[in-house]
């Protein structure tokens, strides 16, 4: 566990989480959420939990982003609040 890489990844995770809930464009929010999942995957791989990192990379960043985009295409693209 290298504290420099750890701090950088945690900072990017917080930035991505804030961006996900503040962006008005839902399609961009889904993509940023995929970036968040990949950063969590990187964090877990860096902490030594390779199985969980693999799960996060396949399910969180791969399939759920596509399902979010498919659900957004059936609603309006911009968030109201």
């Amino acid at each position: 566990m290298i504290w420099g890489i750890d701090l950088l990844i945690l900072l990017l995770v917080v930035i991505c989480a804030f961006a996900t809930i503040t962006i008005k464009d839902l399609l961009s929010a889904a993509i940023v959420f995929g970036v968040y999942s990949f950063l969590m995957c990187l964090l877990w791989a860096e902490m030594g939990a390779v199985d969980v990192a693999f799960m996060e990379a396949t399910v969180g960043a791969g399939v759920s982003t596509i399902l979010f985009i498919g659900a957004i295409l059936h609603t309006s693209r911009r968030s109201k609040d």
Partner: protein, 159 residues
């Protein structure tokens, strides 16, 4: 330029020839990697869930790059449902078979009475059977979730 567009329209390709050629070349390797992740889960990170999701992602990729019709010819709707049920049945069937052979539920070492391989070897092989069941179920569920959510349920077109 017009000639190229005409040629694309009349060929069996859809919208973008680059994306579809890339997907056509990549999909067998993605499926091979998914099978490797399922089978090699005993020795490396991975297992049934991750390999099943990768196998499902290959069919999702066909549905994204081509259209839903091509995705439905590669994996039939009925075959998908049968594979999903088969995966869940393999898991619970192996577990129930252990109980029927006189052991505990999910205690694979009892299956040694059925085919004599050794109790410890059966525990390893039972984990493999269970992983295959999880992989089949997860693959089918992921593909059907993609079909239903992205097309609104009628499986005609979407994305």
């Amino acid at each position: 330029m017009k000639l190229l567009q005409e040629r694309i329209k009349h060929s069996k390709f859809g919208e973008s020839i680059i994306i579809e050629t890339t997907i056509r070349i990549m999909v067998p390797f993605i499926q091979l990697f998914g099978l490797y992740v399922i089978v090699h889960g005993h020795y490396s990170p991975g297992g049934g869930f991750q390999g099943g999701v990768i196998l499902g992602a290959s069919f999702i990729l066909i549905g994204l790059g081509y259209d839903f019709k091509t995705s439905l010819t590669r994996m039939k709707e009925k075959t998908n449902i049968i594979l999903g049920n088969l995966g869940a049945l393999i898991f619970t069937g192996v577990a129930l078979l252990c109980a029927l052979m006189g052991g505990l539920f999910l205690d694979y070492s009892v299956l040694d009475k059925l085919i004599p391989l050794g109790a410890i070897e059966w525990r390893s092989f039972g984990i493999f059977l269970v992983e295959v069941g999880v992989g089949l179920a997860v693959m089918s569920i992921m593909v059907s979730l993609f079909w239903d959510i992205c097309s609104g349920g009628d499986l005609d077109e979407g994305l």
